[in-house]
Amino acid sequence: MRAFRSFEFTAGLILTGIMGLAVILSPLLFPGGGMGQDLVARLTPPLTSAEYPLGTDPLGRDILARVVVGGRISFFVGIVSALGAVVIGTVIGLFAGYYRGPWDMFLMRFADIQLALPFILLAMTVIAIIGPGLDRIIILMIVAQWVQYARLIRGSVLSLRQSEYVQAAKSYGLGDLRILFVHILPNAMGPLVILGTLNVANNILLESSLTFLGLGIDPLIPSWGGMLADGRNYIQTAPWVTIFPGLAIMMTVLGLNLLGDWLRDRLDPLGQTK
């Protein structure tokens, strides 16, 4: 396969694969979930104890376990919120682009307004009102991101609905739903997949930022952003508390972005010609 000779694909797959595998296996590797505290062994440096290979945090918790278990939250938030936004955005974009009219107008102006709101500010306001939580973070991200997909899909649909094969399907008397989902959607999927992959990475970063700001999830549950926040005050005396979750975020996001780039090269008709 030509695919395996691509640097982006290989590097992306390896990085994402390592992190993904660790996350999937985490319940077996660390049944304690990285929650156990050991105040006596707090801030143990890495590589100095067999029990804590990557050292411990200010509460004496195993950083290796927390990085791996924390990845579970990050991947979950990243994937679920991207999927949610893809599904909602796609459906809205399909209908808006196909039927046009006042609903299209209304939805797209609504989308414009939505795009004008800075996400972190919106998130801080909403969370200050309804309180923090994993489910709320996911919903917020879906609310913030469906717009991108809807606009993307709508654009494709606008051009596809004029194409001859769609006109042909219409003249056969096929139902609108069948035309939309069976004939138009598959031809509009390419950019969607690319954007989705890149957004998973983006969402992992967002979740980390929100948790870092104290707006995310329960501080007891390990998560990468939360670990960065825990280590912030110790960055001069115990840098390992922040370095390892930081590395984990970097590897995952880099891996996903590389995969996304590779996908774009494969699926984008202009990219293929090079």
């Binding site: 309180g131 501080p219 005396t237």
Partner: protein, 506 residues
């Protein structure tokens, strides 16, 4: 004048960076918060007190040991069983603008504080037991009280009682005074850049110790790490609001020193004493108290800069009882008590606390570890400050445990005890007992300090027996000081009076 001085200040800052000292010694202090307004009646911020204690004087002054010393009053007497206080004022003192200080200024200050102007700020409520001030002669005043107030003398050293210049305020108006304050203190106000810094210069005529340095600069730097970096780079001489987690970094730096002093602030978990919370059962509340190793928390998260407490006050508080023994750390006994109370292993509880304080965030996480040791599954619920203070606590919508941290500036247990135990108070949403209410009122109506102390100790004992709270620790206030700064002795009330601090040539 202004131009001239800013050149002087610029020279001073440069001099503290370069090795040989110039003629001007400027001491630079960095603190987190900018109080935004320099009028004594408009503030309750510690950040105000640290700066403005250098600008203003009160009739009395509280020293580093919390003892009252003469300030603008040379002496005082308590007359008519506490209904009248007579002050003999210091002669020959003038405000920074040249206006003389006399009985007129005292009367003006308190008329203003208790009148319309004071009503717009938070200080007035501390002084409502004063009925009015009467001028006896130019340097004698009588305070007529509406009711005896045993803490009033201490309060006269407080923010709201700082003496202000009548002619100046009448001339420039209230708004101008907020931004260009004039007092009698050891330093004169020079300039203020909102959000950045305030500059003060030495008052060479000060009656109570002419400042050692020529000027003071207070810089407002919000971010802890930035403030620390400024100290490390030598741009700042004294850093206030040092985070506990930064203490080891500063300790290990050769040219910096940590100076800490017990503060007024105590941290505790209040317990929900009504059904259906499991903590309605006294045995459960006692067990929770026994589950915590307070010293371990202090060593781990406060860099050792704190004292474990058994009531809602530190050792410096009036009403502290050194004889009182708290619940000792004993997880075995705690587990037994929980079992006796019918709380199953793995029972769930939740701690509500104020999000945003990184130290308490760590402490709260560690508390869940201690509770897990006695078989409880305790979750955390960090809440935004406004919601926590206005909606969750006063309306009794908390979970089993919720954060209570308080620091009464007066160091008098009455302040904390009344609002945590008296019927209808904000921090007592679940009620205590008739006996408790009676004791609290009794000490407020007494002017006999020995009797008050006994009652306050009785209140602490009663609260301990009922285990309304899990008292945790009394936090120290931590400063970091650069080499070359001499004579810095911080007061427990977080007011930085810096006239005796000097900078040595290096």
């Amino acid at each position: 004048m202004r131009l001239n001085l800013s050149t002087v200040f610029a020279a001073g800052i440069c001099a503290s960076l370069a090795a040989p000292a110039a003629a001007q010694d400027i001491l630079t202090v960095a603190q987190r918060q900018d109080p935004q307004n320099w009028d004594p009646v408009d503030t309750f911020l510690v950040a105000w007190g640290s700066v403005a204690s250098n600008i203003y004087d009160g009739l009395v002054r509280r020293d580093e040991n919390l003892d009252l010393q003469p300030g603008l009053a040379e002496s005082w007497e308590v007359l008519d069983e506490g209904m009248r206080l007579r002050f003999k004022l210091r002669e020959g003192v003038s405000f920074h603008n040249g206006e003389p200080f006399d009985a007129e200024a005292v009367k003006y200050t308190f008329d203003r504080l208790l009148g319309e102007v004071g009503g717009t700020g938070p200080q007035q409520s501390n002084y409502t037991t004063i009925d009015h001030v009467e001028i006896i002669d130019d340097y004698t005043v009588d305070f007529h009280m509406a009711q005896p107030d045993p803490v009033m003398l201490t309060k006269l050293a407080g923010y709201g009682a700082m003496i202000v210049p009548p002619d100046y305020i009448e001339e420039v108006g209230e708004e101008e005074f907020d931004m260009n304050p004039v007092g009698t203190g050891p330093f004169k106000f020079e300039s203020y850049t909102q959000g950045a810094q305030v500059e003060l210069s030495a008052n060479e005529d000060y009656f109570d110790g002419v400042p050692e340095v020529d000027g003071l600069v207070f810089r407002f730097i919000r971010e802890d790490a930035t403030r620390l970096a400024e100290l490390q780079s030598g741009a700042v001489d004294i850093m206030a609001d040092v985070a506990f987690s930064a203490v080891p970094t500063i300790d290990s730096a050769g040219n910096l020193e940590i100076v800490s002093v017990p503060g007024p602030t105590i941290y505790s978990l209040a317990l929900k004493t009504v059904e259906p919370a499991a903590t309605a059962d006294l045995r459960v509340r006692k067990a929770l108290n026994m589950a915590i190793d307070k010293q371990a928390l202090i060593d781990a998260f406060l860099a050792g800069r704190g004292q474990p407490i058994d009531s809602l006050q530190g050792e410096l508080s009036f009403g502290y009882d050194p004889e009182m023994e708290g619940y000792a750390y004993d997880p075995e006994a705690a587990r037994a008590l929980l079992e006796e109370a019918g709380v199953p292993q793995g029972a769930e509880m939740t701690i509500d606390y104020r999000a945003g304080n990184s130290t308490f965030n760590e402490v709260a996480q560690a508390l869940t570890g201690f509770f897990a040791n006695v078989g409880l599954k305790v979750g955390l619920n960090p809440i935004e400050d406004g919601v926590f203070l206005n909606e969750i606590v006063p309306q009794g919508r908390t979970n089993e445990m919720y954060q209570f941290s308080w620091g009464g500036w007066t160091f008098d247990f009455d302040n904390t005890a009344y609002l945590s135990y008296h019927e209808g108070e904000k921090w007592n949403p679940y009620g205590t007992s008739e006996e408790m209410n009676a004791l609290l009122e009794e000490q407020r109506n007494s002017t006999d300090q020995a009797e008050r102390e006994e009652i306050l100790q009785e209140i602490a004992r009663l609260a301990h027996e009922e285990a309304y709270h899990i008292p945790l620790y009394n936090e120290e206030t931590v400063y970091a000081v650069a080499d070359g700064v001499e004579g810095f002795v911080p007061a427990p009330d977080k007011r930085l009076r810096l006239n005796s601090v000097s900078l040595s040539d290096q």
